[in-house]
């Protein structure tokens, strides 16, 4: 019952976000600021993690392909598939839920407890639009981050394969090009747009409707991370079934 109520409140919030927009001149700068904070600010960690995950996936695949009859190019193929389908969109989204999500919850939550949100409302500003809309738009740039994550992940795989002595560069690259289906990339981008929306809105919800003081802001960030991850994992399952099944 409590959850149903929360879900209803969440969708009402989304509806409010798109009502009574803030002046474009102001919104524009807010969006740019959020892109800087939410996308560029997270690029470092995304690149770092993608590179090593790509490498680890490659090493593990290589170690499991012990049969000499199997071509070495399979290593590149497996690295490409797992990075594009799963690691780049889903794994980085969970990382983003931690980094970006807790930032969103704590910044909005702090504004709530210090009455800054009331101050916006008193001025006659739609605070949900002012605070959440720019975050939603900014996170729509997220597929670009995922594209970079894909590239870096595969690069990490190549480095691991070639310098680890698991496969020669030629074979690995041949594997990368084997049976390439561009729909898989589309699928990954569709997923990442949905995840981006979740990452922008679920933490906003937790920040916006929190009550209490500074201690509760911390708690809300943790709860928000748990729920964002849960929603991402479920959405991942549903989308995979719908798009690939």
């Amino acid at each position: 019952m409590k959850y149903l109520e929360a879900i209803g409140k969440y969708f009402i919030m989304i509806w409010e976000v798109f009502k009574k927009p803030t002046k474009w001149r102001i919104m524009k700068t807010l969006i740019l600021k959020e892109i800087d904070e939410l996308i560029f600010g997270a690029m470092g960690i995304i690149i770092f993690i993608s590179f090593f995950i790509g490498g680890v996936v490659t090493i593990q695949t290589a170690l499991n392909l012990t049969n000499p009859l199997l071509p070495k190019s399979l290593i590149g193929f497996a690295a490409r598939q797992s990075v594009i389908l799963e690691f780049a969109p889903t794994f980085t989204s969970i990382i983003m839920a931690g980094k970006v999500g807790s930032y969103i919850t704590s910044s909005i939550g702090t504004m709530r407890v210090t009455e800054q949100i009331d101050a916006l409302e008193v001025m006659g500003i739609n605070s949900l639009n002012y605070l959440v809309f720019p975050k939603i738009i900014a996170t729509m740039m997220y597929p670009f981050a995922v594209a970079i994550s894909m590239f870096v992940g595969i690069l990490g795989g190549w480095v691991a394969a070639v310098f680890g002595g698991f496969a020669p560069s030629g074979d690995f690259i041949q594997g990368l090009q084997m049976d390439f289906d561009s729909y898989h990339v589309t699928y990954a981008f569709i997923k990442s747009v949905v995840f981006a929306f979740v990452i922008a809105t679920v933490p906003s919800y937790h920040g916006f409707y929190m009550t209490g003081g500074a201690l509760e802001v911390g708690k809300a960030s943790t709860t928000s991370f748990v729920w964002t991850s849960v929603v991402i994992i479920i959405a991942n399952y549903v989308l995979t079934q719908l798009l690939l099944g």
Partner: protein, 255 residues
């Protein structure tokens, strides 16, 4: 002028306001006093339209809030200024940014016009050297003054202050009080102030409303509060020994 007619407000079983009627005049500092938890903040938030009363009406210069359209309400909001209990400055913006914010949002003035206005109001609240600093970098008293500057930058017709001098030393508190009173008179604003502070009551209580158990227990001026026989009021106002003595001396002098 704001007229309040029999407003009620509950949160679940907690009946906070149980039918309050009163009037706040223009150009005067109207004070709301009462114990912690007596519903002062809830009352002021009803006046601001942040809470919708369960019952009763509020009239702003004759316009009944509940009969206004959404657009009219929005316009009314822009005629209100609010100083929150904790200042509620936007901590991502500088002092100047905070004060300029309503101008950015609601006017089409040029940058230099806005800058002039911001400089003017910051000077009005005696802050001249803090323009580029962030709220976290200035003192509590300065934050309060920035909050006042932000509240008056749009030339409001109604000004609401929730405990504007709580947490300040007596001297700064007095400065803030006097500032609010001067501004109220200068621009003929209808000002409503929540306070615990007895100095404020004595200094600027042109009209005082005492809330108790969700009802208006007493109303009058700071001259009258000195003489009243209402026990609840005297117990509240003269809760400190100092004030009891002062009152005693006053009564003796009179006899």
């Amino acid at each position: 002028m704001i007229q309040v007619e029999n407003i009620h407000k509950s949160f679940g079983d907690n009946h906070v306001l149980k039918g309050i009627s009163t009037e706040f005049e223009k150009g005067k500092t109207n004070l709301i006093i009462g114990q912690s938890g007596s519903g002062k903040t809830v009352f002021i938030k009803c006046l601001l339209g942040l809470f919708e009363p369960d019952e009763g009406n509020i009239y702003y210069d004759g316009n009944c809030y509940s009969e206004l359209s959404i657009k009219e309400r929005r316009n009314l909001r822009q005629e209100m200024g609010m100083v929150f209990q904790g200042s509620a400055l936007f901590d991502s913006m500088t002092v100047e940014g905070n004060v300029m914010f309503p101008l950015d949002m609601f006017t089409n003035q040029s940058q230099s016009e806005k800058q002039d206005r911001v400089d003017f109001v910051l000077k009005r609240v005696n802050l001249v050297d803090a323009h580029k600093r962030f709220p976290a970098e200035i003192s509590g008293g300065m934050q309060k003054r920035v909050a006042i500057a932000r509240a008056i930058v749009m030339n409001p017709k109604y000004l609401f202050c929730d405990e504007p001098n709580s947490g300040l030393d007596p001297k700064t508190a007095m400065l803030i009080d006097n500032l609010i009173q001067e501004i109220t008179q200068e621009y003929d604003i209808t000002t409503v102030i929540n306070t615990h502070d007895m100095n404020s009551v004595m200094e600027i209580g042109e009209k005082i409303i005492f809330l108790k158990n969700g009802l208006k227990e007493w109303e009058g001026t700071n001259k009258e509060i000195f003489k009243t026989d209402n026990e609840a009021v005297t117990n509240f106002v003269y809760s400190s020994e100092l004030f009891k003595k002062v009152r005693q001396m006053y009564i003796e002098e009179r006899n």
